[in-house]
Each structure stands twice: as structure tokens, then as C-alpha cells.
């Protein structure tokens, strides 16, 4: 750990508390409200922001619009939009900009009213665009869930993975969600049936949505958003909260290819880069914030991030190993309750950074004792087709 570079840190965070704004708040308002709270969390102001990162969910050409809306004059403007992992990419780019001396305070925001808009994210049709890839695929009626389900089927076929093993992801995240009042409120507002801890049997007996994925293996569709403030070491030294250092980052994309293995994701490319930069290993991670769009996403990524070998994820997660109160068994998974049981307005990547930061500050509702290192890994797009991977390794002082 001695050789680690500490060039930029997360100094301010905010998670928008409501998951159901009943159509009374829009995504830009969620972004601005979250930004103000995250800046206040850091002890900074709008005028301190000199770098803005935006995934474009508020509208087209967001790089032209978002600074005006916030009322800031940044000189680094980055609109990388790669779906749910955009915020891990933004973190990587903010680290670079701050390291190069181009910026001192970077602001990342997210806002979505997917629930209020009744967006059918998982089970809807595919978009009407005419990219050549889409033009070959839309006729088949594949839902997003079915795409992830194809990864699960292949994983089961190749490695003998079972639905019971996949259900471990769902039960661990629900275990954490029940300890997080905002997650319980979210499930209440979204009218979940059975807001309680779940068993493996509960998960595998829930309704099949797209074989082999059951209802309780699929994330919620909520409203929500949040913000992250990243700052240089000199700014971080004067912030209200202790810094959470960005130790390493990695980026990659993957897409359908003839003869390719869909049980391995782009995370297998991005993660080794991030770990090498950070100078740490998966075994040292206390916290694993891994994008849980579906159970299979986490299982695949645990393997690709290096927590276990490819194909061994099913056995590795057995027995409640991913719970926060099992610190000797490896990292705690998604201690806020995850996309499965706390917050998923469409692009969950920002929440991975928020909860990882809370853990390294000692502020989580499922706090791991003395948590020192965390990984946040975002997956955007569709795991079984074209998708993005953003890995961020975080460490406390």
C-alpha cells in the first residue's frame, strides 16, 4: 500500500432519498438537489467546481446544458455515456484530469424518474434506433432480462451453476436492504410484496421472468439519483469528511462476436488494470459494490474481477458468504441493498461509489468493521451483448 498514488479523492456524496417522486420532480432537479447536498457534504460550493461529468440522461448535448442549469463555469467537460457504468468511467476521467492539474473539484450527478415514467426497462421492447447491430436483432423480441438470462443459461451449461447459487446474490442484498431504512422505504413505495429477508427458496420459487431468471433475481425500477464530488489532495485536506482515495481505475467494452464466450464480461479486461494501478489484490477487498442488475451480473463479475476463478462463482457464493457480517469470507456485497432491493433508476453506477464511500467513512447501515478497501464495478448495457465495464478501487486514509 505504501507505493499507492493518492492523486484524487471522493470528498462529497449524496444519494437522493426518494425512489418514487410521483411525477413531481424531474431528473434535472434530482441531479441539482443531489449536487448541492454532495458539495455541502464536502464543505464546498458550486463555485468550487471546475470539472463536470454527465452521462446525458437529462437530455441531448448535456455538456452544453448542464453547467448552465447548475450555474457553474467548469473548464473540463466530459459527457461519457456508457450506460450504468458511466459513473465509474467519470471517476477514472476525473482522477486523470485532477492528476494532470486540469481540475481540482469534479462533480458527477445522476437523476432519473424511470419509475414515475413507467419505463419498462427490463421487459420492454428494444429501442427504435437503426444501428446495424440493432437492425439485426430487434425482430427477435429479446427483452433486456432475457439477454442477461442467456448469460445465466450458458453459465449453468458450462459450469453447472444452479439457480440456488444465483439466489445467494438476492438473499445477501435483501439482508443488507432490510438494515437500510431508505431501502425499506424504497421497497414500500414501490409496493414490493414481502418486504423482509428472503431465503433461497423464496427466490427460486418466485415467478420466472425470463428463464432461468426469477422475479427476485431482477432489480427494481425506481426513481432516484445522486452526486459525487471528487477533489485534489490539497482541496481534500480541507473538506469536512475524510477523503476516500481513488487508487485505481479500469475501463473496457465488449460486444457480440462469433464464437465468443458470453460468460466472461468486459470486467475481465477492466479489473486487472484497476488492481494493478492500485497495487492491491481482490483478496484484500473489504467491500464489493458490484452492479446487481440481475443475480447473474454479480456472479459473472465476481469471477471476472478475480475473487474466484471463472466457473467457480456458484460454489464461492454459497452459504451466505457475501453478507456484511462474514468479514473473514471475503468482501461484503452491495451493503446498501443493491439494485435488487434498494435503488435502481436505470443507471446504478453512481450508487456503487456512494455506498463504497459510506463504508470507507464508517457510515453504512451494514457497516463492515474497519473497512479499508472497496471495489466499485459498474456494468452498462447488456451483459450478454454489447456492454461496458468500469472498475474503481477505493481506499481510506
Amino acid at each position: 500500500m505504501a507505493s499507492q498514488k493518492r492523486d484524487a479523492a471522493i470528498v462529497g456524496i449524496h444519494e437522493y432519498p426518494s425512489r418514487d417522486v410521483e411525477g413531481k420532480v424531474n431528473s434535472l432537479q434530482i441531479k441539482a438537489a443531489s449536487a448541492a447536498k454532495a458539495l455541502a457534504d464536502a464543505g464546498l460550493n458550486w463555485s468550487d467546481v471546475d470539472a463536470i461529468y454527465d452521462a446525458g440522461e437529462g437530455g441531448p448535448m448535456s455538456g452544453l446544458m448542464i453547467s448552465e442549469y447548475f450555474g457553474i463555469q467548469p473548464t473540463v467537460i466530459d459527457t461519457t455515456g456508457v450506460g450504468g457504468s458511466s459513473y465509474e468511467f467519470h471517476t477514472a476521467h476525473a482522477l486523470q484530469a485532477i492528476r494532470e492539474g486540469k481540475a481540482k473539484v469534479a462533480l458527477l450527478t445522476y437523476g432519473s424518474t424511470a419509475h414515475s415514467n413507467a419505463m419498462a426497462i427490463g421487459a420492454g421492447g428494444r429501442g427504435g434506433g437503426i444501428s446495424p447491430g440493432d437492425n439485426m436483432e430487434t425482430f427477435a423480441g429479446q427483452t433486456l432480462i432475457a439477454n442477461y438470462a442467456m448469460v445465466a443459461h450458458r453459465h449453468m451449461h458450462e459450469y453447472g451453476t444452479t439457480s440456488e447459487q444465483l439466489a445467494e446474490i438476492s438473499t445477501a442484498t435483501r439482508y443488507h436492504a432490510m438494515r437500510n431504512p431508505e431501502a425499506v422505504q424504497a421497497m414500500t413505495d414501490l409496493e414490493f410484496v414481502g418486504i423482509q429477508e428472503t431465503t433461497i427458496e423464496d427466490v427460486v420459487n418466485s415467478r420466472m421472468i425470463a428463464d432461468p431468471l426469477h422475479l427476485l433475481e431482477c432489480c427494481m425500477v425506481s426513481d432516484g439519483g445522486g452526486a459525487v464530488v471528487i477533489a485534489s489532495p490539497d482541496v481534500a485536506a480541507n473538506c469536512k469528511k475524510p477523503p476516500v482515495w481513488i487508487l485505481g481505475t479500469g475501463e473496457a467494452t465488449k460486444y457480440p462476436q462469433n464464437g465468443a464466450d458470453i460468460t466472461t464480461s468486459a470486467g475481465a479486461q477492466s479489473a486487472p488494470i484497476a488492481f494493478a494501478e492500485a497495487g492491491v489484490t481482490p483478496a484484500e477487498m473489504d467491500i464489493a459494490m458490484i452492479y446487481d442488475s440481475f443475480s447473474i451480473t454479480v456472479l459473472t463479475l465476481l469471477e471476472d474481477l478475480g475473487f474466484c476463478a471463472k466457473g467457480e462463482g456458484g460454489a464461492w457464493v454459497e452459504g451466505g458468504r457475501l453478507r456484511f457480517d462474514r468479514p473473514n469470507d471475503g468482501p461484503a456485497l452491495n451493503t446498501d441493498g443493491g439494485g435488487l432491493s434498494s435503488n435502481h433508476p436505470g443507471m446504478r453506477g453512481i450508487f456503487l461509489l456512494l455506498e463504497a464511500t459510506r463504508q470507507l467513512r464508517g457510515e453504512s447501515t451494514s457497516q463492515v468493521d474497519d473497512a479499508k478497501l472497496a471495489i466499485a464495478h459498474g456494468n452498462g448495457g447488456m451483459l450478454g451483448a454489447r456492454h461496458s465495464a468500469g472498475t474503481v478501487i477505493l481506499g481510506r486514509n
Binding site: 421487459a123 425482430f139 423480441g141 439477454n147 443459461h153 451449461h157 462469433n258
Partner: protein, 141 residues
């Protein structure tokens, strides 16, 4: 507003999309056309104007014999799409054609998709005909 209720139809590809137009034109004659580079041998899928295997590519069109293997699949039991919601449950699959292209399609001609579709299953093309083109579905051999 017309009294007639519009019946939802399968979403069809656009013949105006330049990379894939040649493929879809071929489907009218029930030909599954794919590209192979005469320079480096790469089978390029989806269709496009350039070779992804080399920078001096020479893509040639070929026609598949129409036989392949299911690489993976799912059974869609919930869809909010106006056409597909009425088709559920139905099977979507990645099929590896024997010539190399892996394409996304539906497996049809099975009584119970949940029980009758498998990874590794041999399938053949089954064309669903429309006015300007046909859609390449598959059915078990």
C-alpha cells in the same frame, strides 16, 4: 381515428440501414447471406462495410446452408412490447451457424419452449415471410 384496431406486428428491420441492407434484401429469396474476408478469412457478423480482421479487407458475400447450433437461449415470459407480449412465452436464442455467424433469433416449432429448447441443440433456418423481406427464425432439426 379509425374504428379498426391496429393489430401489433413483429418489429421488422429497416432496409435503409446501409450496413445490413444487403443481408435483408437476400432474405426475400430466403438466403441467409454473410460476409467473409477473402484477404484474412474473418467471418464478419453483423454485416458491415469494412473487415474487422484486417485493414485491407476484401469482404465477399456467401450464403449459409442454414444449419446451426443453439449457443444460449432464454424463454421470455414477460414482455411489455405490443407484439411480443401476446407471444410469451417464446424462445430467444443465439444460434451459431455452421459457417460462423452467431445471430439472435427465435426458436419456433416447439410445443413447450421451456422444455423443448436446449443449449447445443441443432437447428435449421425457418423463414417467416413478409412483403419486402423474410425473418430468419430457427426450428429444431
Amino acid at each position: 381515428m379509425s374504428e379498426e384496431k391496429k393489430v401489433p406486428t413483429r418489429p421488422l428491420p429497416k432496409l435503409t440501414e446501409l450496413d445490413t441492407a444487403e443481408f435483408w434484401r437476400g432474405t426475400k429469396d430466403k438466403e441467409f447471406r454473410y460476409q467473409k474476408c477473402a484477404n484474412c478469412g474473418t467471418v464478419v457478423w453483423h454485416p458491415r462495410a469494412h473487415c474487422t480482421g484486417c485493414v485491407d479487407g476484401d469482404l465477399q458475400w456467401h450464403v449459409s446452408a442454414g444449419q446451426g447450433t443453439i449457443y444460449s437461449y432464454s424463454i421470455v415470459r414477460l414482455s411489455y412490447h405490443p407484439f411480443f407480449r401476446g407471444k410469451a412465452p417464446f424462445a430467444v436464442a443465439y444460434v451459431d451457424l455452421d459457417e460462423g455467424p452467431r445471430f439472435l433469433t427465435n426458436v419456433v416449432g416447439v410445443d413447450d419452449p421451456g422444455a423443448d429448447v436446449h443449449i447445443g441443440q441443432r437447428v435449421q433456418l425457418h423463414w417467416e415471410e413478409y412483403e419486402e423481406l423474410s425473418v430468419p427464425l430457427v426450428t429444431p432439426v
